[in-house]
């Protein structure tokens, strides 16, 4: 109860948007199936690619409904479209196009957003999309990647470009100090003992803060850069090895987005779970910096530490 508060983890700047542009520009050279559809955002990062492949790098202007429709049409001709803009304009504004022009047509695209929940804090609510993953989760068949480091972007994207289905890659300019190996399942970053208090799932950019916030607690910390499909079996195994079947889920977007996945993963046992993320109960009308918003949502190290200690009683 009187322990010193944990040392806060620094949130490290991550040039994920550059990594995305570099990866896709390189892939355009070798994969004739690939096409990039833009709505002005990041067009400056694709100038050279557009010069080299004018038929396959198309900037439609500020037309996001059309961007998704065009992605669907490209896919119907056998191409592999990549569409990109800030998260609210990629997922929320053209959501019916995402639902109908991709999924319902049986067409697949790679949607790559930037800005995450509130990277552009000073722009305000219009440029925030904490509900993007939750919205996509209402549609079947989506793969969702949430990298926590710029070096994780290339391997996740390259795999997505080779496939045919619908993939969402949620980029942020903020993340962890070190990249983690990329794989489909949960990765144990810090193992608790057989008598541990439970398991903490840290998604993408939340990892370093979770590690700092749970320092000194006997818990297993597992990392996920891919949240759909969710690694239910992996979580079940980690919980089976823990002392308590208690799971703290820490996500960088809307609180509880993966709570139903945790519940399904643990339906064979009595368990407790708590979800941390961007709060649902109020619209935080603030500008400032992303760090200000981390504090407002309790997603800074102190906020996570406080709630982790409530949830995992000593």
């Amino acid at each position: 109860m009187t322990a010193a508060p944990p040392e806060p983890a620094a949130v490290v700047a991550q040039p994920m948007r550059d990594a995305f542009a570099d990866t896709v520009s390189a892939a355009l050279e070798t994969d004739p199936r690939l096409a990039v559809v833009l709505a002005d955002i990041s067009a400056d990062r694709f100038t050279e690619a557009a010069r080299r492949h004018p038929q396959r790098v198309v900037n439609l202007g500020i037309r996001e409904q059309l961007m998704i429709g065009v992605a669907g049409g490209l896919a119907l001709t056998g191409m592999r479209p990549v569409a990109h803009t800030f998260a609210p304009f990629l997922v929320e504004r053209p959501f019916e196009q995402v639902k109908l022009d991709l999924g319902h047509q049986g067409a697949g695209a790679v949607l790559v957003s930037s800005g995450a929940s509130y990277d552009g804090a000073h722009y305000g609510r219009t440029h925030m999309a904490p509900g993007d993953v939750h919205l996509l989760d209402s549609l079947p068949g989506w793969t969702v990647h949430v990298p926590g480091h710029a070096a994780e972007v290339a391997p996740l994207l390259e795999e997505a470009l080779r496939r045919d289905g619908n993939v969402y890659v949620r980029l942020s300019e903020r993340g962890n100090a070190a990249a983690r190996p990329i794989g489909p399942g949960l990765q144990t970053v810090r193992a608790g003992s057989g008598r541990s208090s439970g398991v903490v799932v840290a998604v993408g950019p939340m990892l370093d803060r979770v590690l700092a916030a749970t320092e000194g607690l006997d818990v297993t910390v597992a990392y996920a850069a891919t949240v759909r499909p969710f690694d239910r079996e992996g979580l079940n195994r980690l919980v089976a090895r823990a002392g308590q079947a208690d799971v703290l889920l820490v996500e960088p977007y809307l609180e509880g987005t993966s709570a139903h996945e945790v519940a399904a993963a643990l339906e064979d046992r009595r368990h407790r779970q708590r979800s941390l993320g961007v709060r649902r109960d109020t619209e935080v009308r603030g500008y400032g910096t992303p760090a200000d918003h981390d504090r407002a949502h309790g997603l800074d190290t102190a906020g996570i530490a406080e709630r982790a200690r409530e949830f995992f009683p000593a």
Binding site: P32, A35, V37, Q55, R56, V58, L60, G61, R63, Q65, L66, I68, G69, V70, A71, G72, G73, L74, A75, L76, T77, G78, M79, P81, E96, Q97, L100, D101, H104, Q105, G106
Partner: protein, 231 residues
């Protein structure tokens, strides 16, 4: 089943529609597209059941998915669908519903029903064919004048004009059903964005054929097919 002669002619369309609806009278909304659909599948489009998966086939995208009975009837007349399938129209496990689903309907290029999606998909299809160097296939999108109310169409109209998609044709069946109308004419919404435009009486097959095959080098083509207003 009986061994009736195949129903493959224009004059057979009412009978084919009757297999679905149980009689030969059907809704005006459905009626408005019949001649355009027939001219396209009978004389314009280079696509058949045998070439339905050929990457060089022409594409027809029914954006206005309401009242698809004439569409299903034309697909049946052209051999994409059999008569037994028409009879199961709108059953739970039928491939044919009140809005078409491309995953279920042989020959349907897109699923539609929610208005304002077909032209964007058509622009993407046209861009995809162009990117693959496929210069032969053409893309036709059938819309309604009421459907033009949806703002998504205007994103697509502007972009297709600027991108010079000459493999794309939009056909707007105009039965004056748009609540607030289109003062100055539907054609101007396209021509102002760089499209070639033509219009034709929507029941006149020869005039429709001429309009649908009008040359439009370097720019997309919009054909407005005028139908007597509803009611």
């Amino acid at each position: 089943m009986t061994t009736a002669p195949p129903l493959t002619r224009y004059a057979d369309l009412p009978a084919l529609i009757g297999l679905m609806t149980g009689d030969e009278k059907h809704q005006l909304a459905a009626e408005s597209t019949r001649e355009v659909l027939w001219v396209l599948y009978d004389r314009v489009l280079d696509v058949s059941p045998e070439t339905a998966d050929d990457p060089d086939r022409d594409r027809f995208l029914l954006s206005k998915g309401h009242g698809p009975m004439p569409y299903y009837a034309v697909l049946a007349a052209k051999g994409f669908l059999d008569l037994a399938t028409l009879r199961r129209w709108a059953d739970f496990d039928s491939p044919l519903g009140h809005h078409p689903d491309r995953v279920l309907v042989p020959g349907a290029e897109i699923s539609s029903g929610s208005l304002g999606h077909g032209l964007g998909l058509g622009v993407g299809t046209a861009l995809g064919l162009r990117a693959q160097g496929r210069t032969r296939p053409r893309v036709f999108v059938l819309m309604g004048d009421g459907e033009l109310d949806e703002g998504s169409n205007h994103e697509a109209i502007a972009a297709a004009g600027r991108l010079g998609l000459d493999n794309l044709t939009a056909v707007v069946v105009d039965n004056a059903s748009a609540t607030h109308g289109w003062p100055g004419g539907i054609e101007t919404r396209f021509s102002g964005e760089g499209w070639q435009t033509r219009s034709a009486p929507g029941r006149d097959q020869a005039a429709l054929y001429d309009a649908l095959t009008a040359p439009h080098s370097g720019r997309p083509l919009a054909v407005v097919a005028r139908i007597r207003p509803k009611g």
